[in-house]
């Protein structure tokens, strides 16, 4: 069979149309496209793709089932390892994971593994999702703190092993960043909801509106009879730059901007009661995925111009290539090697502009990235009326402050064993952004999976 060098394209909404709506951008494969893409997989004798997947999805096997049109078999195969496939198929950076290791990728575009995973998951969602089988009850109780990707994965895996799991979530819905952070146009919330409902059907009790650190503590949970605790509270503390004018009206953290829009559905105000104000010219500071989400959200909320302002160059941008491309297609304007040093307001305290400086790249720093060096005398003024700070997030301290005996590192993240998630406190495990700092959904899920395995071992020995 001749090698098809390119991935079958994923149909998507036209950029001119989608920049004004919150509907999903990528529309997913038809059955025909999925079969054509699956046919590109040569079923290697020695596949490498699986080792690029943090949750160890049997990729070769599931694609083989897609090839045979056994979609039910394909999704069951995926779900042996991955509890949230419709989400992963959409938001994983496959180019640096499974698809990076695809053998086809050496000569041509790799097989569209993410697109096929999404196809199989969406196929099942359309049929109605059944909860997977769980093992007989072990009588052990585990508390999971935080219902983001790490916590949900850990909870689902523990439930499969027969443990009784309760998840404590501070917000009024489960999902963490999947609900408040990643926009509807990349990850529809009804899909997150369906995947979470499946985890509930597995017997996992998810308690929302429960702020651990306030309503209870890790030690109290242990006293109440939980045999182990998993902390997956993420990186939810927004950083600001600490420059003048940052508290002016119109300056948001990306967390606030995205939470209002995604979780509270401010784009549908006043049908939904939460307001948001977006001006004509929006500057998003930063160039990670969160920044791209912010800049693209601003356009959809009615901004005429949306800027990404970043102090390094295009090469160093931490966002996924695909997200940058989507942002460009939608008209986001990139101001690189640039950073604000002060925001200016009017007599009402509303932000009206910012003074920026330009940078050039110097020598590579310890992280290997060339560090930006400020160009003297390069100050210039930029008129803007909304600012979104997307320069990163740190660990939220609510749980950490109330958990004595938990070792933290310099940045305030929990110190945990990379393979097991074990912390300095016996019976307490941790994983995801609370350990690594802000990273990706799939890495958090991988950590949740490893911790579930380690917790199971721990409970067997207990």
């Amino acid at each position: 069979m001749p090698l098809v060098t390119e991935k079958n394209p994923m149909p998507s909404q036209d950029a001119a149309v989608r920049r004004k709506n919150f509907n999903e951008v990528a529309l997913g494969y038809s059955e025909e496209a999925a079969l054509a893409e699956a046919a590109r997989c040569i079923q290697c004798a020695k596949p490498n793709c699986q080792k690029g997947c943090p949750v160890e999805v049997p990729i070769k096997e599931f694609i083989s089932l897609v090839q045979k049109k056994d979609f039910a078999g394909a999704i069951s195969k995926i779900k042996e390892k991955n509890n949230l496939p419709a989400i992963c198929g959409r938001v994983c950076p496959q180019e640096s994971q499974c698809e990076k290791y695809c053998n086809i990728g050496k000569k041509a575009e790799p097989v569209g593994i993410g697109r096929l995973e999404r196809f199989a998951a969406d196929w099942e969602l359309a049929q109605g999702v059944k909860a997977p089988e769980i093992e007989a009850s072990t009588g052990k109780k585990v508390a999971v703190i935080g219902a983001g990707p790490a916590g949900l994965t850990c909870a689902a895996d523990l439930a499969k092993m027969g443990h009784q799991v309760t998840v404590f979530e501070a917000l009024h819905v489960a999902g963490g960043v999947l609900m408040y952070g990643i926009p509807e146009f990349r990850l529809p919330k009804r899909i997150v909801q369906t995947e979470i409902d499946t985890i509930r059907k597995m017997g996992v009790d998810i308690q929302v509106n429960a702020v651990v650190g306030k309503v209870t503590s890790v030690d109290e949970l242990m006293e109440q009879g939980y045999d182990a605790v998993f902390i997956g509270t993420g990186a939810g503390l927004p950083y600001f730059m600490n420059i003048p004018g940052e508290n002016l009206i119109g300056v948001y953290s990306a967390n606030e901007f995205l939470t209002r829009t995604n979780l509270m559905k401010a784009y549908d105000f006043p049908n939904n009661a939460t307001p948001i104000n977006v001006g004509r010219r929006v500057a998003v500071i930063g160039a990670g995925n969160v920044a791209m989400d912010g800049a693209r959200t601003a356009l959809r909320l009615g901004a005429e111009e949306s800027y990404i302002v970043y102090r390094r160059s295009a090469e160093e941008m931490p966002a996924r290539h695909e997200e940058v491309e989507h942002a460009e297609e939608e008209g986001v304007i990139f101001k690189l090697l640039t950073s604000p040093i002060e925001f200016h307001g009017d007599d009402q305290g509303r932000v009206v502009g910012m003074t920026c400086v330009r940078f050039e790249l110097g020598e590579p720093d310890a992280s290997g990235r060339r560090s930006p060096v400020r160009i003297p005398g390069s100050e210039f003024y930029m008129e803007i009326d909304t600012v979104v700070m997307a320069i990163g997030q740190g660990p939220n301290p609510l749980v950490l402050r109330t958990t004595p005996g938990l070792e933290l590192n310099r940045r305030g993240n929990i110190v945990a064993d990379e393979e097991t998630g074990a912390t300095s406190k016996p019976g307490v495990f941790a994983g995801g952004d609370i350990v690594t700092g802000a990273a990706t959904v799939i890495l958090a899920m991988g950590a949740g999976k490893k911790a579930a395995r380690a917790i199971d071992e721990y409970l067997k020995q207990k």
Partner: protein, 282 residues
């Protein structure tokens, strides 16, 4: 759902709910707040805890109908409930035996001052409480405040009841006549808290205010509630809501509170039941 066990109507716009929330009630302390959401389309709004009952597993909140959400809340009846109710949030008041303290509650601020006065009195303080409202019919919990205070003074702006004038007049009088005031708590609308801080500043009396900025999550993840205290940015939901009133940037707080004024008007127009006041719910 979190059920409303008791509803009291103090005035056409000021209402009390006792809400069933055992987990919150078990941990609530003076100075803390909750966040609630009325229904699926609702926004999250913070309300300070006015009282808690650990045995009944309830939290009492008092609110003034000031916009779409509080109006909608005010329409709920006993037996109905709110969809989400999370807490206790924020840092509790620092309660010690300070000696003589003054607790000032302006308008709706009487509610949050109540558990603080009670805790201070239980800790052995001489608690002089001052409460006030614009007019007599907006005044509530006079007896409840008397019960948790060593002494209670009352003012109305229009003189329709007790002292005519502002709570700050009475506060100045207490400071001048009694002396030895160790701490002042002042809670109410921003202009009132600012006036309390201004009143005590010349006497260098430690003055604690409870900031009421716009909040979204209430757990420190967004910074919507940021305030400037002693030129440092703080998140009121996790660092506060109580701060040193002499260090607060009041201009900034006032401006930030008005951030969504236009949207709030729009929401009110869109969501109000449109009865013009005849429906009996508000």
């Amino acid at each position: 759902m979190y059920r409303i066990l008791t509803k009291k109507i103090f005035s056409p716009t000021i209402k009390l709910f006792e809400i069933e929330a055992p987990m919150v009630a078990a941990k609530a302390q003076a100075g803390q707040f909750i966040i609630l959401r009325v229904n699926e389309q609702g926004e999250r709004i913070p309300l300070t805890i006015a009282d808690y009952n650990r045995e009944r597993g309830t939290i009492t909140v008092i609110f003034q109908e000031a916009g779409a959400t509080t109006q909608e809340l005010g329409c709920l009846e006993t037996g109905e409930g709110v969809l989400d109710f999370v807490g206790p949030l924020g840092v509790p008041s620092e309660i010690e035996n300070y000696g003589r303290v003054v607790c000032v509650g302006g308008g709706i601020g009487v509610a949050p001052v109540h558990p603080i006065a009670r805790a201070l009195k239980e800790a052995g303080n001489e608690v002089i409480s001052i409460i006030g409202a614009r007019t007599k019919e907006l005044l509530f919990w006079e007896e409840e405040m008397r019960a948790v205070s060593s002494e209670l003074l009352v003012s109305t702006d229009d003189g329709s009841y007790s002292h005519k004038g502002f709570v700050t007049d009475l506060l100045k009088q207490v400071i001048e006549e009694r002396g030895n005031v160790s701490h002042v708590w002042g809670i109410g609308p921003l202009p009132m808290m600012r006036a309390v801080a201004r009143t005590t500043q010349p006497y260098e009396i430690k003055t604690i205010v409870s900031m009421n900025p716009i909040m979204v999550d209430g757990t420190g993840m967004c910074g919507a509630c940021r305030v400037s205290v002693g030129n440092e940015t703080k998140f009121a939901c996790v660092d506060g809501p109580e701060f040193d009133g002499h260090l607060v940037d009041w201009d900034l707080a006032t401006r930030r509170l008005a951030m969504f004024k236009d949207k709030e008007q729009q929401a009110l127009a869109a969501r109000s039941c449109g009865c013009g006041g005849g429906c009996g719910c508000h």
